[in-house]
């Protein structure tokens, strides 16, 4: 075998021209990502009228935290009902967000995972139907179904409950079905057959052997789902108005016309506030959620 590149029998960390180019690209990317974030950060400390209006890119003439203070001061979510108005504080907003995002992300991951396993492992006609359904559903644009969705939720008694949303989100549709399906399709049958020979039933095989094998993918998918649900304000806004989440609060603030909140520095301050907790959670857990992936894979 001849190779046009360097040829020494290198250790696997061998750094080639190709990798150098990649490094360059990645550094460019990081710069392009951090400059706007940095600008947003700096801008969030400016006063709109006396500073930002005439000083768009420089450092603040005076670093002020008033933007943050205003947001904190005014930040609460009021829930109305016949019994009056209830102010929901930030702590509760975080808890609601957590309950909503954790539950939904788990349901929205386990259901496609198991369904994909069934379809990949049991070659019934019905499995084909399911796969086809996933693809077709992904393609059909649906319009104006929200009212009937609300109606359905009310009819089944799921409306305005957190667990109701878990059930509503527990569908097998979407890309992650295909991801799991792809994995199960190529998963050597040896594992489960050996277990079966040892007398293990289908449930044992699934929960003791198969699921642990794909746990990395599972957690990754769940993480991605978690983030989506954490940032989602539309679904809770419509389906669980009594349990406001942090993103509903942020949305309420961001969509306001009140001048206090709608200036560029204030928006940037809002963005920073929204960004920090999720950044903290992410950085705290990224080892577990991202780091594992390179180590794990499918080796039992």
């Amino acid at each position: 075998m001849k190779s046009s590149g360097t040829r020494s029998a290198a250790p696997r960390e061998k750094f080639t021209v190709f990798s150098a180019i990649l490094l360059g690209l990645l550094i460019l990317y990081v710069i392009s990502l951090f400059i706007p974030l940095f600008w947003a950060f700096v801008t969030s400390f400016k006063d709109q009228n006396t500073d930002f209006r005439i000083n768009v890119i420089g450092f603040p003439k005076e670093w002020i935290i008033d933007n943050f203070r205003t947001i904190f001061m005014e930040f609460s979510y009021s829930v109305d009902s016949v019994a009056g108005t209830r102010q929901v504080g930030v702590g509760m907003l975080y808890l609601n967000s957590l309950a909503y995002a954790l539950g939904c992300s788990f349901c929205a991951t386990i259901v496609p995972c198991i369904t994909a396993y069934l379809c990949a492992r049991f070659p019934y006609k019905f499995s084909k139907v399911i796969c086809m359904t996933v693809i077709i559903v992904m393609v059909i644009p649906i319009v104006g179904s929200q009212p009937s969705e609300v109606q359905m939720a009310r009819m089944l008694g799921l409306y305005d409950t957190i667990w109701g949303l878990w059930i509503m989100k527990a569908n097998f549709l979407g890309m992650y079905f295909l991801v799991f399906f792809g994995i199960f399709k190529v998963l050597p049958k040896g594992y489960s057959e050996a277990a079966k020979v040892d007398g293990a039933g289908n449930f044992t095989v699934l929960f003791r052997i198969v699921l642990p094998l794909v746990r990395n993918t599972f957690f990754t998918v769940m993480l991605i789902n978690f983030i989506t649900f954490w940032n989602d304000y539309q679904t809770p806004l419509i389906f669980m108005p009594s349990f406001p989440t942090i993103s509903m609060g942020m949305w309420q603030m961001a969509s306001t016309n009140i001048q206090n909140f709608a200036t560029v520095p204030m928006r940037m301050a809002g963005a920073i506030i929204m960004l920090i907790p999720i950044l903290a959670i992410f950085l705290a857990f990224h080892k577990r959620l991202l780091g594992n992936l390179t180590l794990g894979g499918l080796k039992g």
Binding site: Q48, T85, G89, N257, P277, A280
Partner: protein, 569 residues
């Protein structure tokens, strides 16, 4: 090493987060404006759209109404009424799906499409409120005065629905108004003498304007000397001469939002069209009732507008013909000159990062902050003052002369193209604001809701609304000069103009309109098939189409597009 770094990082961020949570939860508790439910009174739950008009007006009427009905019994064991207000930012279209299941009983909202809501079965019958005598409240109404009497003919036809027996029922009534137009800085105009002179003293641009306040000004748009509009531009041509003159005086002539310039300028074009066409011709766009459109025309080979010479009856079958109205051509032509001449407007007038609030800010601060040039004219909706309230307050804090009651702004009468046969001022209301009661309100509360709706529309309440918001409600009423004294100069100028003007409410009852209401909005009406592609936002096509699209091209394309797509929506 890296490990420690990222751990530290995470811990730091975690700390920051917990600090912020503590700050939020404990340190400064949110301003509590919520009120408790009073178990001894009957509650009426009211939904209010938390937009530019705010809720101060509702707070005021709530207090008066609770006082008025403090001894009335609506349910056993309870005396008096508590109006329980919720302010939310969902428009009529958003709330429709939840009206029947929510606890709100009376709604004040905007962008509410009456017939759509009615077909969805969410609107309750409020005929009693609309036709009931308002004089019982001692709110300045003559005996026998009704809300119905405060509606225009068009509004009566639209909101009053005839049933199979020929009885008229009302399921909603108009609420506030939304016009887009020009707000000018009167202080600046006075200081810099931005007024046309009655007789030009020479041929240069400077000879056309007054030099001091003692010079005689031109008659202005109304053609009469000694009125409020003396010296203001009467024609499109004069308007642009004024902008040039302003620009040469080192003042920015105009500003508007860059982030929303497309819809703001579509709204502005519609305002120009209405003012050119007048009420009757303008209403044909919506009613298509077989009346004759008198000023249709086409673009000839030289790109010039040529009138048909004879009228065309506009019906639901040929409704697209109305797109050939002269007023539309002249308004688009006007817009072309405005947006394609850089010296006429603010640098950021089409910048997506320049919001309507930024525009208002610059308008208010311009010339007062030692950095930026003054700005003569703001293009915005009449609700701008409420949106800019924070800036007014911040400026007032340093100098009381900057309060909205001390700064002199006014709503400008629009100039007209010379061919316009309409000598009145015609305003265009594009906000579809409505008040309604939900269909499934508890039977014992129905009389309360009806009574409250009436109360909100007494002369006293209408005046109060106008005094608080500095804008008119979408009903016919007049105010005494003494009542206008407590308003801002802008509010006064607006209400004075409103009293002189006719208002176009873009509503109709024919099936085409009712079933395709969105297609008659300012947003969808101006779709045009131009040589450079199809555009929906006029200013966008004029600014960035390639190859270049002129006003004539755009105007011709309006008709093409509307005709090709008529009724295939």
């Amino acid at each position: 090493m890296k490990n420690i770094l990222s751990k530290t990082c995470a811990i730091m961020l975690g700390l920051m987060m917990s600090v912020s949570v503590c700050l939020l939860a404990g340190g400064c508790s949110p301003e509590s404006t919520s009120e408790e439910i009073d178990p001894n009174r009957t509650q009426l739950y009211v939904f209010n759209y938390a937009g530019g008009f705010g809720s101060d007006w509702l707070q005021a009427v709530k207090e008066r109404y609770e006082e008025y009905s403090k001894d009335v019994v609506y349910e056993e064991g309870k005396t008096g009424v508590q109006i329980f207000v919720t302010n939310q930012k969902s428009t009529g279209e958003d709330v429709a799906g939840t009206v029947l299941t929510n606890h709100y009983e009376v709604y004040f909202t905007e962008y509410a499409y009456y017939q759509t809501l009615r077909a969805q079965g969410v609107l309750g019958d409020i005929t009693e409120a609309v036709t009931g005598d308002l004089s019982v409240y001692d709110g300045g109404d003559a005996e026998g005065a009704t809300i119905e009497g405060k509606l225009t003919d068009e509004q009566r036809a639209y909101y009053g629905v005839q049933d199979a027996q020929g009885q008229v029922h009302y399921y909603g009534i108009p609420h506030y108004s939304g016009y887009t137009g020009l707000i000018y800085n009167v202080d600046l105009f006075n200081e810099r003498n931005f007024y046309f002179r009655d007789e030009p003293t020479g041929d240069t641009i400077y000879d056309r304007f007054v030099r001091s306040s003692s010079d005689k000004k031109s008659a202005g748009p109304d053609g009469k000397h000694g009125t409020y509009d003396d010296g203001l531009p009467a024609t499109y041509e004069e308007f642009f001469i004024l902008l040039q003159y302003i620009s040469r005086n080192n003042v920015t002539p105009m500003v508007w939002t860059g982030a929303n310039y497309k819809d703001y300028l579509n709204n502005f074009v519609q305002a120009l069209v209405a003012d050119y066409e007048g009420l009757d011709q303008m209403m044909l766009n919506f009613t298509m009732d077989g009346s004759e459109a008198t000023d249709l025309g086409t673009i000839n080979g030289d790109g010039l507008f040529v009138p048909d010479g004879e009228g065309t009856a506009i019906t639901e079958e040929n409704g697209y013909e109305i797109m050939r109205q002269a007023g539309k051509y002249y308004a688009i032509d006007f817009l072309e000159e405005l947006v394609t001449t850089d010296s006429y407007h603010h640098d950021l007038a089409i910048n997506r990062g320049f919001t309507h609030l930024d525009a208002q800010n610059d308008f208010l601060y311009g010339g007062k902050d030692n950095y930026t040039k003054p700005i003569a004219i703001l293009l915005d909706g009449i609700w701008w003052e409420s949106e800019a309230n924070q800036t007014f307050l911040a400026m007032e804090a340093t100098d009381s002369a900057n309060s909205k009651y001390n700064r002199n702004f006014a709503f400008m009468p629009l100039p007209k193209a010379p061919t316009s046969e309409n000598d009145k001022i015609t305003l265009f209301d594009h906000i579809y604001s409505m008040c309604f009661m939900k269909a499934n309100i508890a039977e014992y509360k129905r009389p309360l809701a009806i009574d409250f709706i009436k109360f909100v529309n007494t002369q006293e309440s209408l005046v109060e609304f106008t005094q608080i918001t500095d804008t008119p409600k979408a009903l016919n009423y007049t105010m005494k000069d003494t009542q206008k004294q407590s308003m801002s100069p802008f509010g006064r100028s607006l209400i004075n103009m409103r009293e002189r003007a006719e208002v176009v409410y873009p509503i109709a009852t024919n099936s085409t309109y009712v079933n395709h209401q969105a297609q008659f909005s300012n947003e969808y009406m101006y779709y045009s098939a131009t040589g450079a592609g199809t555009y929906g936002w006029i200013a966008e096509a004029l600014i960035d189409a390639s190859p270049n699209v002129t006003a004539a091209d755009y105007f011709a394309g309006l008709y093409e597009y509307r005709k090709d797509n008529w009724l295939s929506w």
